[in-house]
Symmetry: C3
Subunit: 109 residues, 3 copies
């Protein structure tokens, strides 16, 4: 038995938890903040058989992949020939940090 501790972005968490539960994985959601990833993040505890670790990590990678989001910043503008042009800025979103630890003993009561 292994315990997967996954720290993911808040916005990726609901979909990921859904998919994991549809695949019959048990997930516990802890609230967490900052550090590993810039914005708010969520820590998940997922207990799985050793043989399932790869599949869970594959699912996390699929739903939490690091990606760029283009967003327009209303506060940053350039003046070009008298016209204010909003900057578009690229923001890195997604990503995950995953720790897999061995479980000595597992009990479900």
């Amino acid at each position: 038995m292994k315990l997967i501790i996954a720290i993911v972005q808040d916005e990726d968490a609901p979909k990921l938890i859904d998919v994991l539960m549809e695949n019959n994985y048990s997930v516990t959601k802890l609230a967490s903040t900052g550090g590993f990833l810039k914005s708010g993040n969520t820590t998940l505890l997922i207990g799985v058989e050793k043989e399932k670790v790869d599949e869970v990590i594959k699912i996390i990678k699929e739903f939490c992949q690091s990606r760029k989001q283009v967003t327009t910043s209303p506060s940053l503008t350039t003046v070009s020939s008298g016209v204010y042009v909003p900057y578009t800025i690229e923001v890195q979103v997604g990503g995950a940090t995953i720790f897999v630890v061995d479980v000595d003993r597992f009990e479900k009561i």
Copy 2:
């Protein structure tokens, strides 16, 4: 040294923490939600000597045992000879998921 990560139902947590502390176990309570168990749950971190793992699990089993609660549902009624009869429904409460992991190093400062 072992670290016991126990996910229990919110309603069972206060009594369990009380009993563990009366037995001189140190308990840290993390907020957690959904997943392993249907309703709100609480994650506890309990650091113990290897020899004490059995006793802690026994205490958790005693205070978090899975049990059925009969409750009347006001929204579900049957009409029997013109009389509204409230349904009684059985709800599963309690239960716990316990992970025991080995601790390489433990420091209390």
Copy 3:
């Protein structure tokens, strides 16, 4: 790879997280309450290379050392020659509980 689970006092957490991040450690902050330490506390997850465990523990010890704080209690006073004298009371603050667990597998995506 090791996962350091550190439970520290709320008031020591911000400075500690700052210093750890300035030293390029990734920190995830979980909310936690009571138990190991009397007042509100914070649980940190810090993933580090085996060789860095000592340094992280040294930093935690430096910023979370157990110490006495002298505080005046407005509710406790002695009357001495008609003058109310506030009691000063010593409160134990700081302290930390640290678990280091081995990480089977670590992924950052």
